[in-house]
Symmetry: C2
Subunit: 295 residues, 2 copies
Amino acid sequence: MSAAPTAPPPPHASLQDQARTWFESLRDRLCAEFEAIEDAQAGGDAGRFVRTKWDRPTQDGSPGGGGVMSVMRGKVFEKVGVNVSTVAGEFSPEMRARIPGADVDPRFWASGVSLVAHMCSPLVPAAHFNTRMLVTARGWFGGGGDLTPMQRDSAEALADAADFHASFRAACNRHDPAYYPKYKEWCDRYFFLPHRNEPRGAGGIFFDHLDSGDLAADFAFVRDAGLAFLDVFPRIVRRRMAVPWTVEQREHQLIRRGRYVEFNLIHDAGTLFGFKTGGNIEAILMSLPPEVRWP
Amino acid sequence: MSAAPTAPPPPHASLQDQARTWFESLRDRLCAEFEAIEDAQAGGDAGRFVRTKWDRPTQDGSPGGGGVMSVMRGKVFEKVGVNVSTVAGEFSPEMRARIPGADVDPRFWASGVSLVAHMCSPLVPAAHFNTRMLVTARGWFGGGGDLTPMQRDSAEALADAADFHASFRAACNRHDPAYYPKYKEWCDRYFFLPHRNEPRGAGGIFFDHLDSGDLAADFAFVRDAGLAFLDVFPRIVRRRMAVPWTVEQREHQLIRRGRYVEFNLIHDAGTLFGFKTGGNIEAILMSLPPEVRWP
């Protein structure tokens, strides 16, 4: 009922349109690349993305933003979701203590792109990528990308993981030599299942609360992280997608996907954040694999 | 390193052997009944329970108890697990504040039986049942049973749910007319997915921290709850298992199982309790369905 306390907006507030435009254009490029992969492998049976818009409901009917889910179910990509969302509102009292700047002013703005790919072939790794910009009384970027090979110790899986890391390492090193070791380690720590005492996959990078003081440099790094993923993951998919696989490998993939579900539902902070801020449930849980086994 | 503080044991401590024996004999009766159902439906292809013993590891190598998993993968029961466990140890400092009596003495003893049945036919409901006795400086019983029909609003599903509730209502009413309404409501509240705003299934009963002051009466109620489940669930299975079903119904079942997974991994206190007390991970996650879809 009372007016929200005011605080000077962080410099990130001036970047809102550009950030949103970047995340949406990266989404378009990722979707186009994935559809081209479908065309190359499946010809007339190629999958296509289907887009669904959603609005974020607010209690008082004020504009809360929303997003667009893009989902493709194809012959190479068993299920891939690429979500963009741009939302604004006020954090609940519970969240205010936990989000930088939200103790000063509960209002927030957030925009980002988020991708999860579950592949038909057990020889093609699953992948996750996201980047986002948050604006409260402070502003920052977060995101990362990580790879989940299914035949974890095979030479092919190790080679894929090495290439994936090399791409992100190069992107990081163009900005700050401290980034890659720090963000790789953060990723390893984050994507870990303590109840299984095992990593979710082969890692990648993970970063949050990035605000170096140089807004343009931070935004450039975030863009480069996106381009690194756009370069390396399609390359990995293309070189593995036509390799024949066995039913035993498929069964193993479905079991490994169970670990993915366990991580996302038990541990993933992004999933829990989505639930608590009234995110779109279908968009949040689009990360879950299409078919899973706990035999 | 220091000796644990001592507190007078609750009367439940004298019941440990009897409680354990009851839970194990109920396990035997449930397994025998389920194998008889397999025989009736599948003849020579009938499933059989496989038992696996596990020991609870302790940091100092002292005896921590353990359990036995009984799992059957059959033609009627796609995957059914019946676990018994009897464990003892000390609660971690984190847990001590949350468990009755553990603030006085961190040592605990717990024994129970836990069952989850996922069925081949989408026309047969999934079921969950468990009962347990806990002993700290206090002692109590907990447990319950609930049914998860897959075709939720069909006449058959409603009839199954009505029978399931009637059986538990009768068991409750033999002990205290206040039990059924209270424990039914507790069950509805517990087995609810707030992120979907929907119940997990058709409910049943749920109770915890039962210590009326009359130990013999409480134990008799717990036994009757077990007998109620042993009576009603096999009856429901037998009358539905031979009904032909469609691939659409099966697909719907696999999607509904996704909700089951979401509940167990996001919300279920028993799952989280198991993780935090060094329970056997395979036994805890045996509740997860064998095949699941998030299309």
